[in-house]
Symmetry: C2
Subunit: 270 residues, 2 copies
């Protein structure tokens, strides 16, 4: 089985440059999809117990991770699924609340019902995209029926009891679940397993379908499984849906300096 890996491109770390003579914009090279290689000698030496090879492996996994929509149907080994869930559970959480919950959808009929929900929302999204409707409909946006393992990641109920780090920012619970999903995603990629995060569903309908209590909320349908190949670049970039932003435009110093024209514009960037 062939795995398409992005070509390793060595990237020059250019000295920091000012734009417009001002000191409020950080100049950052290596803005495209290609993996940013760690310089040969470990940059922090005795500070880290991780070797240059370890660090390089981490950056390579991050660069090779993709939002997958094409899967092979092989089921995943139970021990592998366990490792991926353990990786998720190692994520940070606001006030150590660990708000993540996971439902493994193993029943075929239940999976079909989840797929039906996603399909309904896919059509509704296409209509909402107006002039990009046809373009959107040509994209493959999920692999719910084909993937080897289907997981639903959710926020637990009763989160209003947790105040630490959330009094003014209640949405930090979602941020914690997202970190858990990212851990799972990176672990899957390292293990040669693809994952796709599907958010094309009505959360309340999915909550009721999965008999989830009031106050809980599904946040992701996660398609996991072996894949024919990993996309060399993000599929939405390959299909010209959107472009990779220049990192220089996303990093500012001391206060906001980005121009009002956002680098990515879904509705006009055709």
């Amino acid at each position: 089985m062939k795995s398409l890996t992005p070509k390793a491109v060595s990237v020059k770390f250019a000295p920091s440059q000012d734009r417009n003579g001002a000191d409020h914009t950080a100049a950052i090279p290596c803005n495209d999809w290609r993996p940013c290689r760690v310089p040969r000698k470990p940059p922090v030496g005795p500070m880290s117990e991780f070797t240059a090879k370890d660090i390089d492996a981490l950056y390579r996994v991050m660069a090779a991770r993709r939002d997958m929509r094409h899967f092979l149907p092989d089921p995943l080994d139970e021990a592998l699924v366990t490792r991926l869930l353990q990786a998720a559970h190692l994520a940070p959480s606001v006030g150590f609340m660990q708000p993540w919950r996971f439902i493994r959808v193993r029943d075929r009929a239940m999976r079909e019902r989840v797929h039906a929900l996603v399909e309904t929302e896919r059509l509704a999204t296409a209509r909402a995209l107006q002039e990009r409707e046809d373009e959107f409909m040509r994209l493959k946006v999920e692999g719910v029926r084909e993937c080897g393992e289907l997981l639903v990641a959710a926020l637990m109920p009763g989160r209003e009891r947790f105040v630490f780090g959330r009094r003014t920012m209640p949405e930090m619970d979602l941020a914690s679940v997202a970190c858990a999903i990212q851990n799972l995603w990176l672990a899957a990629r390292a293990e040669g397993i693809g994952m796709g995060w599907v958010s094309l569903f009505d959360p309340e309908t999915l909550r009721v379908l999965l008999r989830m209590p009031e106050g809980s909320r599904p946040v992701a349908v996660l398609c996991l499984g072996r894949v024919p190949a990993f996309y060399p670049r993000p599929m939405l970039e390959e299909q010209h849906w959107a472009r990779r932003c220049d990192l220089n435009e996303l990093v500012m110093t001391d206060y906001w300096t980005e121009s009002s024209r956002s680098p990515t514009r879904e509705s006009t960037d055709t």
Copy 2:
């Protein structure tokens, strides 16, 4: 400089067990903080271009990552900061919208003003915690003034234009930023750099302070820097603020089966 590393504990992968004879609960071993070691032989072999050592490195980084509040003041190397931001920019995002923005707070006076905002919210949170107020006040909850590099991560303005994956789930933009922060966090940990995610601030006040446009939203004050040592376990676990949940209780099959008593209860878990 000594880095406290968690002891490598080999964990047995127990066969899946049913509780109560039902098939709706996954039994998952290795629920505590210790790193879950990858079995010696690569589990997927030809499926992954990553070696068993690469995979092991990733899991070790995840297990060693901590929410840090104790920092040394040394500034970070510019090339290192660049690599960390590049790692963030490799994160997934809903519809490839890349909603993350970063402001590097380099001006000392600005940093003091950010600290003042955090301090105000710290006191407000303590009062809101009622019977846990004193316990909370004894915790060190941020390292804004001491850390070598202060970053604010934010959501860009104009997100309402992005519909793909967000028609029913607009909060997926925040999930994308959280994934970017988690990438940055793991990269920092691998490079021997500590990070703390502070969400103790009023987002609107911080937005105005950083001259951020309406519609944008700060989501994290990120303290980055060299540390005296990494905590062997999450600090809030060490200080008995909360317990690590049993992963078995967080994973269900086909539909929700968790009992109404949540494993973590901030307000009663004293």
